[in-house]
């Protein structure tokens, strides 16, 4: 693939071994996908966590002097400080690891947003902008809803892009790959963010790879609903670009969405598909010991809804109640009084924390909880953290009365 002089110098190590390592990955990706050249990106989001492979890779790049040319936003880890304040002392014995990783992130030039929903808060791209977004809920959103151009970056390839300020030109960065090839006719009403969760998983699980075009959907979805939709499209499958006819900016009508081509595949999604997904991904039975809401991170609107449902009430003493959001939204919830309402009911709002992360495993593995997130239920089943899938108001009802779901 063609590299300009500066890109060649990055690869040759003129900017240090860390930048060279990042460029090496970018070039290998470019060659794998037959990219002709690199393009400059103007935004990045890295979904790095404290997993061993992330610690290893970030330490290697930082030690090699790598600094991000484009300062990326980053995913949540967990707020150990908050947990310790409420009496949960270093549950995974990782205080040192988290401290070191934070230093590495700062050295690399990563902005510590600790949010999995940058696309609606801290890192919102404009139409047509070349970006490198990792995090499954974010990539489909920036492509489909914002009309920016990102491939389905991994945590590491997004970091490499932030360091080099480049992305190889292939895939969803090119017009011809952004048009749809699978038609999905939705034949059931989609009413709230929970329906978008179920629909996203069901559709991507059923369709396989490709760019889906949805018809029969509401014309005025909220940003939160589309965040949930994208997150599940990338969990049940690997969708990074989609269209909703009449809603998303590259799908003014069916013909435009398909770029004038005929759909290769046609599927329908019915009420049964959504019910099947809810059943398939609900695990465990018995007494509910915890409620976890906010995967992807709740927005201020979703936090307000929880506060409204809990106003003046008391959560059952045997149920732990967690709302996950970005540190920025938590600050806003504090200012708005929602934090106080939720705390007084006996619940927590924890900032900068993921649902599938080590701090919870010791607390909740082998137990049963409820969540409104298909993604949370899907991934945590691996560590025997079992979730029943329910709508937000149902999760709150169960938290108040205790007992079984």
């Amino acid at each position: 693939m063609y590299l300009n002089d500066e890109e060649k110098r990055m690869l040759a190590g003129d900017f240090g071994s860390g930048t060279a390592e990042a460029m090496k990955l970018q070039v290998a990706l470019g060659e794998a996908f037959d990219a002709e050249r690199m393009v400059e990106i103007s935004r990045a989001h890295v979904s790095l966590a404290h997993y061993p492979s992330d610690v290893w890779y970030t330490a290697k790049l930082a030690a090699g002097g790598a600094r991000c040319r484009i300062k990326p936003t980053c995913n949540p880890l967990y707020d150990l400080h908050y947990l310790e304040n409420v009496g949960i002392r270093d549950p995974a014995n990782e205080a040192g690891l988290l401290r070191n990783l934070k230093e590495t992130f700062l050295k690399l030039g990563i902005t510590l947003t600790y949010s999995c929903t940058p696309e609606i808060q801290s890192n919102v791209p404009r139409f047509g902008e070349y970006v490198a977004f990792a995090e499954s809920s974010a990539t489909p959103y920036v492509n489909a809803v914002c009309g920016a151009r990102s491939n389905r970056e991994s945590a590491k390839s997004a970091l490499a892009a932030a360091i080099t300020g480049r992305a190889p030109l292939y895939g969803y960065l090119l017009d011809e790959n952004r048009t749809g090839n699978v038609l999905i006719e939705v034949e059931t009403p989609i009413n709230d963010d929970f329906d978008y969760h179920l629909l996203g998983y069901a559709a991507s699980h059923k369709m396989g790879p490709g760019v889906p075009v949805f018809t029969g959907m509401p014309m005025k979805p909220s940003p939160e609903e589309l965040v949930c939709f994208g997150a599940q499209l990338a969990t049940g499958g690997s969708v990074a670009m989609y269209h909703i006819v009449g809603v998303t900016p590259e799908a003014s009508d069916l013909e435009t969405a398909f770029g004038g081509k005929t759909p290769e595949k046609k599927l329908t999604i019915t009420e049964r598909d959504l019910q099947k997904t809810q059943k398939l991904l609900s695990h465990g039975s018995g007494r509910i010991e915890f409620v976890m809401l906010g995967c992807p991170h709740y927005s201020i609107g979703q936090v307000a809804e929880v506060a409204r449902l809990l106003e003046g009430k008391k959560i059952h003493p045997e149920v732990a109640f967690w709302v996950l959001t970005s540190p920025a939204t938590r600050g806003l919830a504090d200012r708005m009084g929602y934090l106080d309402t939720i705390n007084r009911a006996g619940g927590h709002i924890i900032g900068g924390t993921c649902a599938d992360i080590s701090c919870w495993y010791g607390l909740y593995s082998g137990k049963v909880g409820v969540t409104d997130s298909v993604k949370a239920a899907y991934y945590t089943a691996r560590v025997d953290m079992n979730f029943q899938l329910k709508r937000r108001y149902e999760c709150v009802e169960i938290a108040l009365r205790g007992g079984e779901a």
């Binding site: 290998a28 990074a240 991934y379 691996r382």
Partner: protein, 143 residues
């Protein structure tokens, strides 16, 4: 394995070197995080291959799936414990899977001749020559 029994197909090398091993075909995409890294067994409860081990296999996949965070983590942990696949042949590569295999140095191949998919069955043996971008397939009854 007599060479006369081998069928040869073209492919495209994405990452890693040559690889060989018994074939395991997944009818659906795989998230490497949803594998028990001690045993190499798929532990995603609703997956078609739940309970089957991918260790030392040449995995034939339609595509990767799932998180941009943990797909890599699965590949990394399997590598560390020597319970990963010998190689991966994928129909629709995505950036998450490709970046993971490049960083973790797994052999990954795509763009295989269509006829390959007509012939291939579980427990067949394949040798992938990364230099020449060729796959040699030995049917199980010929072994």
């Amino acid at each position: 394995m007599g060479k006369e029994n081998a069928l040869t197909f073209n492919c495209h090398r994405i990452s890693g070197g040559s690889a060989e091993g018994q074939v395991l075909i997944s009818p659906e995409p795989v998230c490497f995080y949803m594998i028990d890294t001690d045993t190499g067994k798929i532990n995603e409860r609703s997956h078609a291959l739940v309970g089957q081990s991918i260790t030392d296999k040449v995995l034939v996949l339609p595509s990767g799936k799932g998180s941009s965070v943990v797909q890599d983590e699965g590949l990394f942990a399997l590598k560390q414990k020597n319970t990963g696949p010998k190689g991966i042949i994928v129909k629709n590569p995505d950036t998450v899977l490709v970046a993971g295999t490049i960083v973790m140095d797994y052999p990954l191949f795509d763009r295989v001749d269509n006829e390959f998919y007509d012939h291939i069955e579980n427990d067949d043996y394949v040798k992938v020559d990364a230099e020449r971008e060729l796959i040699m397939l030995v049917k199980k009854q010929a072994c």
